[in-house]
Symmetry: C2
Subunit: 521 residues, 2 copies
């Protein structure tokens, strides 16, 4: 493993900074052994495994520790890279954007500070995972439902700050966030919203507070380290029943999107459904080699055979009905009617179809965290993925255009299209999982090139991405270029004001501090 030094810093200076950190936090909470640092590498490396490696890691145990860490870092110009639990698969894992930055691993700060049953909220620290909060709720017999992402091991704060999504009616994670505590680069501790009022009794009840609302500015950014965060929890519905609708033809994608849009917009489908491509669902059944051992993309004829054998469609739509049986039945009528115009559509409730994906989605849409989705990495040996994640208007035309573009570019690169449309109220997150063999350098290069091509082509069509791997953060930022990059200029002004020494997550989302700007790091 290559040990990266932070830019403009020699080993001696790094050692002095680490010594101060050890003295402030306790020696055992500052890691610099290779054996320990490998855990902070991207589990799906798109370059050499150690490309985005940190020079060290610190594990603060308290807000005071975080304050001490940023103060020492600011004094020494030591770049930091805060993580909550450090999952974030497909988007870099725990790895810092800036090679050599010191990971601030917040996993020791893992208290569930409050769960309020009456109002439906929790206040948590960064180390709390979805699994942990779920278990906590169950242990206390809570009647609140937690919205969970695809993989339950993620941290609630990390996921929310990356603007992750879940699949119940509370699936837009930033929209259910209420109140933050943030440590700024100078060590100042800010509570946002109503939390700024001493003794406040509405910190987790009312998002906006008084004056500018800053919380969303601390998401996908490098302006502070969030040490507490409130999330809303939904009252447990009277029932939850997942369903799967299989669609036999590629071109059904368009019809589904047009059928679903009005149902999402008017709330008939209250949660965040997903629309998954055939091979993505096949990957939950077995590795690619089980279906096809040739080179290049899985041929259409093989795809059809997989569909037939496993009773799944070229596209598969997963949603859930919520409420008492009568409400679910009435809602199901409306949904079936909406899909009725698609010949060959197959309708299946959970438990009535062997698909492991349906079983996994049923758990997720009922707010039960799990790791089932992780299985799709079996597709390749040494399976990794990097995600191309454009936002699409929820129309047939846009969905088909994005799909065909991604499918064709994937095939030209010898790859399978494995896509997933996450259907919001007016738009969809189109997650194209670019699967690759992490041990094959040529595959890594080809996959990154493919992702670059897709980003460029999408931007030309007016599509932008909602999230990206560190390897491509600058590229995406460059596509948000209106008025000669005015948005990035604004981001940089605020960066320089809040973090003049440029120590917090340099380069994250393309935002570099002044001292490192334009250096291609």
């Amino acid at each position: 493993m290559t040990r990266h030094l932070p830019p403009d810093m020699d080993q001696d200076r790094l050692d002095r900074a680490l010594a101060e950190l050890r003295s402030a936090l306790g020696a055992k909470w500052v890691l610099s052994d290779e054996s320990e640092l490998v855990h902070y590498q991207d589990p799906c490396p798109i370059y050499e495994a150690d490309h985005f490696s940190p020079s060290a890691a610190v594990l603060p145990g308290s807000v005071e520790d975080v304050q001490a860490t940023v103060r020492i870092a600011t004094e020494h110009g030591l770049p930091l890279s805060p993580i909550s639990t450090g999952k974030n698969l497909g988007f870099g894992g725990a790895a810092p954007r800036l090679p050599g930055a010191v990971v601030v691993d917040l996993k020791r700060m893992n208290r569930i500070l409050e769960v309020d049953e009456k109002f439906g909220y929790a206040l948590v620290e960064p180390g709390v995972s979805y699994f942990e909060l779920y278990d906590h709720l169950r242990a206390r017999g809570s009647k609140l439902m937690l919205d969970v992402p695809d993989l339950g091991w993620g941290g609630i704060i990390g996921n929310t700050l990356e603007r992750g999504v879940g699949y119940t009616p509370y699936g837009d994670h930033l929209s259910i966030q209420c109140g933050m505590e943030v440590v700024l680069a100078d060590g100042d501790v800010v509570r946002t919203g109503m939390g700024a009022l001493p003794g406040s009794n509405t910190w987790q009840l009312f998002k906006y507070g008084y004056g500018p609302q800053f919380d969303p500015m601390f998401t996908q950014s490098n302006y502070g380290i969030v040490t507490k965060l409130g999330i809303w929890l939904m009252p447990e519905p009277a029932g939850c029943q997942a369903y799967m609708i299989t669609l036999p033809r590629e071109e059904d994608l368009g019809a589904v999107v047009d059928a679903v849009r009005p149902l999402r917009l008017n709330g008939t489908i209250p949660n965040v459904p997903t629309l998954r491509s055939l091979l993505l669902d096949a990957a939950a059944v077995g590795p690619r080699s089980r279906f096809f051992t040739g080179a290049g993309p899985v041929p259409d004829s093989v795809a059809r055979r997989i569909a037939d054998e496993h009773g799944i469609g070229q596209w598969n739509f997963y949603g859930a009905l919520y409420g008492p049986p009568a409400v679910r039945a009435a809602t199901w009528e409306v949904i079936r009617d909406a899909f009725a115009g698609i010949p060959g559509a197959g309708f299946h409730f959970e438990g009535e179809h062997p698909s492991p994906v349906l079983a996994a989605r049923a758990k997720i849409m009922a707010g039960q965290p799990n790791l089932d989705t992780y299985k799709i990495l079996q597709w390749h040996d040494n399976g990794g993925h990097i995600d191309f994640a454009p936002v699409s208007p929820a129309t047939a035309e846009d969905a088909m255009r994005q799909y065909e573009m991604a499918r064709d570019r994937c095939r030209e690169a010898g790859k399978d299209y494995m896509g997933n449309f996450i259907v919001g109220r007016r738009e969809m997150h189109h997650i194209c999982m670019l699967m690759f063999d992490t041990a094959d350098p040529a595959d890594r290069v080809a996959t990154l090139d493919l992702c670059r091509t897709l980003i460029r082509e999408a931007a030309e069509l007016g599509y932008g991405e909602y999230r990206v791997h560190p390897a491509l953060m600058d590229e995406i930022a460059a596509t948000f270029s209106f008025n000669d990059n005015a948005l990035l200029r604004l981001s940089e002004k605020i960066k320089d004001a809040l973090d003049p020494a440029g120590v917090l997550a340099p380069g994250k989302q393309g935002i570099w501090p002044r001292r490192l700007r334009g250096r291609n790091l």
Copy 2:
């Protein structure tokens, strides 16, 4: 009318700045005649009528004009105070926080740039009022419902930026905002979210974009001038039926709040209902003198007589049922059941009770803008109001505590309690309208003192306000004092970074630019 000069600026320097503005925008779009400037005074003056007067007003007709205005202002250190349509009754109207600031009146920029029927959104300029967008929607036969505030003359951008509320299911106006264009103090034009991607087709579909989300930071702030804003529009429901539930006793307030909270939380009541006190509803019927001509607060015996004569309660709850008749009927059952434990509760649908308030709420909850609510100003001669607006947890205990505090302080000050709880999902905006005679200096002083007392007492109990009149912006900011005013420090850092000359709305929400900080202006 006293003409205020901006701080640190003599008449000569002001004249030079105005001359440059005239040359850039056209002479007729820079107003400095008293006869024209009186329109920018607070219509409910709590000091002398001219206290918060501007030194001039400019009326830009385009984004370029706004850019020219901020550039000239920055060059001259000329403070500006942008308004959209400049309503904001009870919170200062069009008046600048800083006496002598130049009002930037954006009413000429009044284009409805886009209405999208399929996705349910509009993109508007600052001069567009709720009336105008409503009329536009009706004229094109739109099937979209606009969420409107109490008074339909307000500007959509102004209301959203002040974090105003409406009363349909889209009543949280910041939550339905999607995409902004903002002119910064240096004249830079930023588009937020997906709007930063040239040719973007999702600017009004996906709020967050890529990187930090800044939009909420531009609300209740002085960081930029918003020149375009997207809002979501709800698909017209199959039906809308308003109802009124009258509650006979003061102490029923608590029972109502506890009954309603779970119904708001689980969506049974999908819109933003209101819970209004007896005298507030009486004010819609006639002036105070119609009911009571004595001094001091209306006595309880008179209040009871008003209730009996007009068939209204000590509290009156206004909500609406949405959807087809069967859904409305089923929902109504649940709501009636929830109120069943309150003896004497009276249930009335729109059209079945003579209350003018029910008629007005029915329009508002169906998304029809009107000015009916304006009538309550008839309560006093020269009727004005200043609003004490604390956020309350949605519990019986908190509602009663806030009510009793406000009622008692009002009575001690010889005033009537006229309150309105706007019921969000987890909290309530408790709007206490402190009515006063704008022509009576002693009443003005007493009313402002009362508001100050209430703010202080509320803060001691952990309650903070969501919005306030310019006269009290610093006082409220001071109550959000966690960690020695860390939030204000953050606000000020960003202020200084984005507006180093300190020209945009100095003092708004207590945020002063460096050069004016601590000067008690």
